[in-house]
């Protein structure tokens, strides 16, 4: 008897993995970690605001020349933007699809139910939506300058100070950064678990790193509007 020959192509790794709950969650974890890595760099760059308009604007300009002369002006930036856009979309779509499934899998509630999980764990979904909405506004304010009161291309320092001159912008920003901290607090440890990097021996280290990253990012980002509000940055 002749052996059956394999003619159909098996799906790619990503395609295969995307169709299971475990695999889709892994996509979420990887894209979450990509965004997280970017945010650490972004936060450190933001702190240059405390060294004056000259240094901050020069830094923003340098970002556009990064990768040269191999990469053309701004190409590096566009590559980063493409990777981030893909991550946000994949992360959001996976979160939406898995959440729909999770809610359908548990149709009835119990009469009495006390929450035994942490606040960060319980707010992953709504916190994620808050972060998504914040992201849209943030890009319109400081990247495209569509809703920025100063809106001068090439003058990020002045645009930023003008934006944070409004109290409600500071409130929105600070609330979003607290949401970010909570999301990272559960998300980083969760990603370690999802990707199978966690173990009983490493569990405490991952939890501590998650707490540390969450605190570092929230404090680092919030320092900027506070700097503007207190007049340290003007």
């Amino acid at each position: 008897m002749a052996l059956a020959t394999r003619t159909e192509r098996s799906p790619s790794l990503i395609g295969f993995v995307w169709h299971s709950t475990v695999g889709k969650k892994a996509v979420m974890a990887v894209t979450g970690l990509v965004m997280l890595a970017y945010l650490v760099a972004h936060m450190l760059g933001n702190l240059k605001i405390f060294f004056g308009a000259g240094e901050f604007n020069a830094y923003a300009h340098w970002l556009r020349t990064l990768g040269g002369p191999v990469l053309h002006h701004e190409w590096f930036l566009w590559i980063v933007r493409a990777v981030l856009a893909a991550s946000v979309v994949l992360h959001g779509v996976a979160a939406y699809q898995l959440s729909r499934r999770d809610l359908a899998a548990r149709p009835a509630r119990y009469e009495r139910r006390r929450a035994r999980t942490s606040y960060a764990t319980r707010t992953m979904r709504w916190g994620g939506v808050v972060l998504g909405l914040f992201l849209v506004w943030h890009l319109l304010d400081l990247t495209t300058l569509t809703v920025n009161p100063n809106a001068q291309q090439g003058h990020p320092y002045e645009n930023l100070v003008a934006s944070f001159g409004r109290w409600y912008v500071n409130v929105v920003y600070i609330v979003a950064m607290l949401a970010l901290g909570l999301h990272i607090r559960h998300g980083f440890w969760s990603a370690a678990q999802t990707l199978g990097a966690n173990s009983p021996r490493r569990d405490r280290a991952f939890k501590a790193t998650a707490d540390g990253l969450a605190a570092l990012l929230t404090l680092g980002f919030v320092a900027v509007p506070i700097g503007v509000m207190t007049g340290i940055v003007s």
Binding site: S20, A105, R106, E111, T117, Q193, T194, L195
Partner: protein, 247 residues
């Protein structure tokens, strides 16, 4: 002890159910929770009412049949099965809510009885090792390292009661499935099916309509056998490894 019980009554899978209140008296604190329900059922039968249907078999904490949610907690306030939960953990005059496991993959059959056969289908997709038939092999033919034996045993304690699914806000079967995967994948006897087992069981789990894991940890808190949350992390690793090796 005198207690007020609020119990989920549902005639059959297609009927709507409701919480129904019963008063019971003369409960000893040495009774198990199931004996307390037996006591209620005797009174219901004498009064000509339909007794409360609940699942049970061994009544010694090893078969996993007796699952029910007591005051919002799977198997009640102690880390044990409902049959091993004693009434001394309640107080005279308490109001106790008793509900079936709630999960789309575990439809209610009647009152507190749910259909857990979705677990059997997950097991059928890889929760076994293939061994040749014939005489039992020599015990030392396949050496098992001590750590592997301990790890396998810790995860083999799972009795498939479904408390993890009942406690999970997503109705996920990840703790159950991972307990089985870890138990067999760490042993040399499980090695030939290491990849097909995890891929098959995860895909069966998804097909049965269980939710995904959001790492809330509620399952491991509810587990009467103390299956650790790390089982899920290990299964995730096994799954990703097997996905890469798949062809």
């Amino acid at each position: 002890m005198k207690l007020t019980l609020r119990i989920w009554r549902q005639r059959d899978a297609d009927s709507a159910g409701a919480m129904t209140t019963y008063e019971v008296d003369g409960i000893s604190e040495d009774m198990s929770f199931l004996e307390m329900l037996d006591h209620l059922n005797e009174e219901l039968i004498l009064a000509g009412d339909e007794p409360v249907a609940f699942d049970h078999d061994c009544r010694e904490g090893i078969c996993g049949a007796c699952g029910m949610v007591i005051n919002g907690q799977a198997h009640g306030p102690e880390r044990t099965t409902t049959c091993q939960l004693h009434m001394r953990h309640f107080r005279d005059g308490d109001v106790i809510d008793v509900e079936p496991w709630r999960a789309a993959a575990f439809p209610v059959v009647k009152d507190l009885v749910v259909d857990r056969s979705a677990f059997d289908r997950i097991i059928g997709a890889g929760g076994y090792v293939s061994v040749p038939t014939g005489a039992a092999p020599e015990a030392h033919a396949t050496p098992v390292p001590k750590e592997a034996a301990d790890l396998a045993f810790e995860h083999a304690e799972c009795i498939g009661c479904g408390a993890c699914v009942a406690a999970c806000p997503n109705g996920s079967a990840m703790l159950f499935t991972s307990a089985k995967v870890v138990h067999l994948n760490v042993l040399p006897q499980g090695a030939p099916e290491r990849e097909s087992r995890v891929l098959g069981m995860v895909s069966a789990m998804d097909e049965q309509g269980f939710g995904g894991c959001t790492n809330t940890g509620e399952c491991a808190v509810a587990c009467p056998k103390g299956i650790p949350l790390s089982a899920i992390g290990t299964m995730n690793r096994e799954y990703l490894r097997a996905s890469v090796k798949r062809r």
